[in-house]
Amino acid sequence: MTEVTMNIWRGDSSGGSFYEYKLERVEGEVVLDVVHRIQATLAPDLACRWNCKAGKCGSCSAEIDGKPSLMCMTRMDTLPNDKITITPMKTFPIIRDLVTDVSFNYVMARQIPPFTPGDPEPDGTYRMQQIDIDRAQEFHKCIECFLCQDVCHVIRDHEVNKLYYAGPRFFVKLASLDMHPLDTVDRRELIRQHLGLGFCNITKCCTEVCPEHIKITDNAIIPLKERVVDSSYDPIAWLGRKIRRKVKYTVEQAYALAPAQVAPTALDRVSATAIDDEGKS
């Protein structure tokens, strides 16, 4: 029976340090199993998030030996060392130990005008061909683990950019809305002016860490960049839109059509206001 040393960062917003826990290895375990064994035996108050333990909910995100990963989907036998280091996601403020405050993401989600479908068929239902939804379905696989947000240097290394940058998770969201066959809202100016798509310089780090293997950069961000640029700078596309029959809703119209204004919750009211003000200035 071999031993493994888990080197885990522990602390809170005021600071912290690494603690070492030595345990026996058990066949077939994932990192989260070992963290649970530490909780049950050595450190009952070691804080970590988890839910499904099956890679479906995206709660147990952390950095394992420096790589943003889901603890529940990282098998111990895939890690070569006898000492394994776990740290919380760096991009988000620490709450405690491996738990971070990811409310940035929920605030960002509120800045996106909601899905707004066109008219249904006469029988009241919609028709869509599978081939037309394949790409958007790829984006719907997102489990909101926020590992792509964590790894993205635009906000990982530059805190101030959080005011102007939605991050890969929400570019995937925006791309899924843009490519949804039924949606009618034109969000391109919002994306260009307020959600910071231009900051992304396609280093593909987000794609590399995505546990759902969504091709974030190739399939979401690059096509989105092309559409946004087309809408702003291509005179022929501009003319084409002017004479095209079907007019898309503007962002303001989409907000107005939603049953209620997108409203921040008590949890994120303060930061949401900050982002709104900064974003408009």
Binding site: C52, G55, M73, Q129, Q130, I133, Q137, P259, L267
Partner: protein, 612 residues
């Protein structure tokens, strides 16, 4: 440790929804869309609720794949699957309204897999006569929760993430009008005042050792409702899903979707036999295939062939697997084999079952396109729960509503796959309407008794002030061992009595646990506050199981192996009466004759006529 009101912050809403899975979000959307101030409480982060793990699909008689399908066939399948213990009105509303609720999800942005003519594709599942499950590969729950989450965000619902509710508060007249909880990041107490409260807290699986449920499923809503004085029904009816992973040990219990069998997978024992042909019960014989040839033909042709016994209702399949393993015909790690590799192409498997493919590859090192899976039963779903009025979701406590897994009655003694996701949206919406109507009808202010709040808070903090007590993890592990071995798939009187004895000792131990550290995001303390719910629910399950002296659906008694027609007529109702926990049989609501008629002409393969 005494807590006074200064330590508790207060929030006020018209409608408070406890639970942010499918039912909770759907209820909140309904209430908020009527203009009422609505809050949702999540035990975890927003969008991580257990609904996210639902795989196979949402059952609704849309008739897109088989136009013969209609609500009456769905209703009949549901009640036969539930072994006639279902609340008929709930089963009827569910079958009638599920199609509209699914189409509504589509109008809110959900992208279900499509038929060739561009409509919602439906897949076969256990106990459903026709291919009926709208789905998105094998991640339907994720699609559903994200769609509802986005909708809830757009209508402006207040979301309280990572809050644990400790008690439902009542006013001087016993009406539910508040809840006391704490927020996990800071450990601070919050008192929620509300005119109406919807419980949508989900299941109870964490009391068992092998379960498909996440850490949240500790039966909080069941325990909250019970202690608030609500009636609980059929708490003995717990579903063990036949196919959970069995190896590696660390993922034992993790769900393997019924969609594997719906899409062509077959169960095999160690002798390579399709053993389900030996376990076809009389009730389903007329509509089940007799030969492997017929079963395999059925996948493409429901008209001339009958369904494969691999897709019998879950209780039947779970018992069969249990029996095969006991007879020594199990797989190396104590399950049986589920083979789709030799029956479908790798491309088909990866397209239809992408998360199963990656789950087995990444966690067990098994490529399901090349080799069979090993599977065995896992504690999955609670059919029993809070007794509700079918139309309004009102519980027996005024002001308190319940929807989804926490509510009882809809699924009888056994739930069909796919019926839980439809349950969430049908009764989530109805609970939202029920709670909104109730809240709008109230006059005057809402005044929960503050002493209840301070008492609950003091009780929650008590583990910090005790020295030298046991760790909550230890008690949780012992409870799981107890429920797994003594209140599992097959039950007997002696074991149930032993279980009740152990639960009572565990309750005593739980009242003396100690927790070190602070209140800020302390998982040991969080678990200590979950233990009372788990213990209360475990006791209710064992007491119900002891009193139901028959075998029906998810409840199987070794000492009473057959169904008893007398027990078919009653719910076992548990409640607190003058502080005393009682269990008593009460008659099921009587099904109207026109619905009874649906069960009389049992011609397999023939749908009841649609005249609605």
């Amino acid at each position: 440790m005494d807590v006074n009101t200064k330590d508790i912050s207060t929030q006020s809403f018209d409608v408070l929804v406890i639970g942010a899975g499918g039912a909770g979000l759907r209820a909140a959307i309904e209430s908020r869309s009527r203009g009422l101030g609505t809050a949702v409480i999540c035990k975890s982060l927003y969008g991580k609720a257990h609904t996210v793990m639902a795989e196979g699909g949402v059952a609704a008689a849309l008739g897109n794949v088989y136009s013969e399908d209609n609500w009456k066939v769905h209703f009949r399948d549901t009640v036969r699957g539930g072994k006639m213990l279902n609340n008929w009105r709930m089963a009827q509303l569910h079958a009638q309204e599920a199609p509209d609720r699914v189409l509504e999800l589509e109008a809110w942005g959900a992208l279900f897999d499509r038929t060739d003519d561009g409509r919602i594709l439906q897949r076969d599942f256990g106990g459903h006569r026709y291919a009926r499950l709208a789905h998105v590969g094998d991640r339907t729950g994720l699609e559903m929760i994200r769609t509802l989450q986005d909708k809830a965000t757009s209508v402006g619902i207040e979301v309280f993430m990572e809050h644990k509710i400790l008690r439902i508060l009542t006013d001087a007249n016993g009406n539910a009008c508040g809840a006391l909880g704490y927020t996990r990041p800071s450990g601070q107490f919050v008192l929620f005042k509300a005119k109406a409260i919807v419980l949508a807290t989900g299941g109870i699986g964490r009391s068992w050792k092998y379960t498909s449920n996440s850490w949240e499923s500790t039966g909080d809503g069941h325990a909250l409702a019970f202690s608030a004085g609500a009636d609980m029904i059929d708490m003995e009816c717990v579903q063990f899903h036949p196919t959970g992973m069995v190896w590696p040990l660390s993922v034992r219990g993790l769900l393997v979707t019924e969609g594997v069998r719906g899409d062509g997978g077959a169960l095999l024992n160690s002798e390579n036999q399709r053993f389900m042909f030996n376990y076809i019960p009389e009730m389903f014989r007329a509509e089940t295939a007799e030969t492997e040839e017929e079963a395999d033909r059925w996948y493409d042709d429901h008209a001339s062939a009958r369904r494969t016994p691999d897709l019998l209702p879950r209780d039947e399949v779970a018992r069969a697997i249990n029996a095969e393993v006991k007879a020594g015909r199990g797989s190396p790690h104590g399950g049986v084999f589920l083979d789709i590799a030799s029956r479908r192409t790798p491309e088909y498997i990866k397209r239809r079952l992408p998360s199963m493919y990656s789950q087995f590859l990444e966690l067990a090192g098994v490529d399901i396109t090349r080799e069979p899976m090993e599977v065995g039963p896992t504690c999955h779903y609670m059919m029993g729960g809070v007794r509700v009025d079918a139309d309004t979701a009102a519980t027996t406590v005024p002001g308190l509503f319940a929807a989804g897994e926490v509510a009882g009655g809809m699924h009888g003694a056994n739930r069909l796959g796919g019926n839980s996701l439809s349950d969430l949206i049908v009764f989530g919406r109805r609970a939202g309407i029920g709670a909104a109507d109730y809240a709008e009808g109230l006059t005057g202010t809402v005044e929960p008794e503050v002493s209840q709040a301070t008492e609950a808070a003091s009780e929650a903090l008590s583990p910090f002030s005790r020295e030298g007590g046991e760790s909550p993890y230890r008690i949780h592990a012992d409870l799981q061992e107890c429920m797994q071995t003594l209140v599992g798939i097959i039950r007997t009187e002696t074991e149930l009595i032993q279980a009740l004895d152990e639960i009572s000792k565990l309750k005593d131990r739980a009242s003396k646990v100690s927790v070190q550290g602070g209140r800020e995001y302390n998982p040991a303390w969080n678990l200590a506050t979950d233990l009372p719910s788990m213990l209360a629910v475990s006791e209710m399950v064992a007491r119900g199981a002891l009193d139901r002296k028959e075998s029906r659906g998810g409840h199987t008694r070794d000492d009473y192996p057959s169904p008893d027609p007398e027990f078919a007529k009653v719910n076992l109702v548990q409640r607190l009466q003058d502080g005393k926990h009682t269990v008593q049989p009460e008659p099921l609501p009587e099904m109207p004759d026109e619905l009874k008629a649906l069960f009389e002409d049992d011609h397999a393969g023939q749908a009841p006529k649609e005249d609605h």
